[in-house]
Symmetry: C2
């Protein structure tokens, strides 16, 4: 029992998180790899707030952020310092630190996250799985530290609040999510510009990719399972970077009658990243656990090695008992 308490203080209060940060300086904030709107919005939003408190702070990216997120850095000051306090935002497991795992995973002193499955094992962890995004938690935290939410901070937090809920579309959205969005708009968040960049902007190449992907669409189990895929050859043909390969996962789930939509993406030869999106009661997280992955009930992921054909067949087989 003592051991467990040592590993993670259950029900740490956000007040205490605020107090810890108020006392610290020279802070590094870690994101997860393949950084998305929530980890980036949380990190840059908090970084700006800490800087506005007169502290030194910087964001340590785990992996490269897509250029569409560049605006999140607006207002962040470059400051030179020796880190004294290391924290992570929206990082649910050590391996999600990517290239930073080895150098950072044992040094994290504070973990803020909204994934109930968090396995970082940091003693000071504030994990609220009822929050639709980590940015919701950061919003409360900044308020508790009595820092003004500037337009630049609001843009960061709105980005996470919006992207992690599919623009308020998904089941994780709560009344509180909307209350926070209302406040962020009042603080000047450029919500329409952000939403357009996050959800409504496609390059001509991306449109071409979607057309190609439509050709890969197959249905199984009376249309309850839909699978699409992308290959490195397709990516090469359209000259698309890795960051332009995101955002396809919602395509198969959108189809009428589909309970589970799977997107298979070839990352390297014989290495495939799998994105699973579900509707209704179908549990994507349980499904992905079969392949050593995880995530949320409606949106999860895993990785499988093998040929495209074998990977696809494994997924179809694994879905059988869930969908039949």
């Amino acid at each position: 029992m003592t051991l467990i308490l040592k590993k993670m203080r259950t029900k740490m209060k956000l007040d205490n998180v605020a107090k810890i940060l108020q006392e610290k300086n020279n802070i590094e904030i870690l994101t997860h790899h393949y950084p998305d709107g929530d980890t980036l919005g949380s990190a840059y939003g908090l970084c700006k707030a800490l800087q506005d408190m007169g502290k030194n702070a910087r964001v340590i990216l785990s992996g490269k952020a897509a250029t569409k997120f560049d605006y999140l850095k607006d207002g962040v000051k470059e400051n030179s310092f020796t880190p004294e306090f290391i924290m992570s935002v929206d990082v649910a497991a050590p391996q999600l630190l990517g290239d930073n795992e080895e150098s950072y995973s044992n040094k994290i002193q504070l973990c803020i996250d909204h994934h109930g499955s968090n396995s970082l094992g940091v003693e000071d962890s504030y994990i609220d799985a009822t929050a639709a995004s980590t940015c919701e938690i950061i919003f409360d935290l900044i308020n508790l530290m009595n820092v003004k939410i500037t337009k630049e901070i609001a843009n960061c937090l709105y980005t996470g609040v919006s992207t992690d809920t599919g623009c308020f579309m998904y089941t994780n959205t709560t009344a509180k999510t909307h209350m926070i969005a209302a406040k962020l708009i009042e603080c000047g968040a450029d919500f329409a510009v952000i939403n357009r960049a996050m959800f409504e902007t496609k390059t001509k190449q991306k449109l071409a990719l979607e057309r190609m992907v439509y050709d890969t669409l197959d249905y199984y189990y009376d249309g309850k399972l839909a699978i699409i895929y992308t290959t490195l050859a397709m990516q090469d043909k359209l000259n698309l970077g890795d960051d332009q390969m995101e955002g396809l996962a919602s395509i198969p789930r959108q189809i009428d009658g589909v309970k589970m939509g799977i997107t298979i993406r070839e990352k390297q030869d014989n290495v495939f990243k799998i994105s699973v999106r579900t509707n209704g009661d179908t549990d994507a997280c349980e499904f992905c656990k079969k392949f050593g992955g995880g995530g949320h009930k409606a949106a999860s992921g895993c990785a499988i090695n093998g040929t495209l054909e074998s990977v696809k067949q494994q997924l179809i087989d694994a879905a059988k008992e869930i969908l039949q």
Copy 2:
């Protein structure tokens, strides 16, 4: 001056609208034609509230509603009565009453709308162009009448709030929009189911249509103008009903660099419906006025007769001074 006051009481207060409705019975509520989520959500939401007050009320549809909106009728009681009071919701002009124009346009006693361009000319008109949807106004109205917002009413109002803002994505969204969404979720609105039905559900035929439409895509003026079209032949080939032809208009605007996205839809031989969506400062309403249409700054429409080629060329020519 007196004449103008007779035609429309400027700045009618919503309190007064509430008082008028509290005193009336046997109420008919008119929608606009090609009924969308906002006109239907407003009409059915208000109808249920009036019925909950013990009144007779019914919705008069102007044109057929798509089956995806069927849930809006949940909880509406069928009642037989001779109408004594006729009102409209979200109807901006007499011709938008469609088949009901002749029989109803001169009988409307109360008009509630959020289109600043409203030209119904009803003496008792409550028009709030700052409201992102008419459902926002109906939300306030139902509260002013002290009627409980049931789950069924919440589902109606959420539908309009969400659909008219592109799920909180568009510039018309305000902090108030989000505050109302929060309250409606607290009242039990099935927001995730509604959003999935409104935004994330495509039939297999619809997917096939999108692929066809991608083939029609053309760019003009250095990619600032993008035009797509659908023809009756395409609709026939895929066996799609008119209600399944909606929702394409967002495609051309989504493309990086596009300031104006135009969707041309063949409605009958030589009769085309034009949907214009714009980004940034480009004014879709001003553009559509050139063809006798109108709407909002970022989303407007008009109708043009002629061959597909001539209609398209007229649109390209008209866009020249705006985009060059």
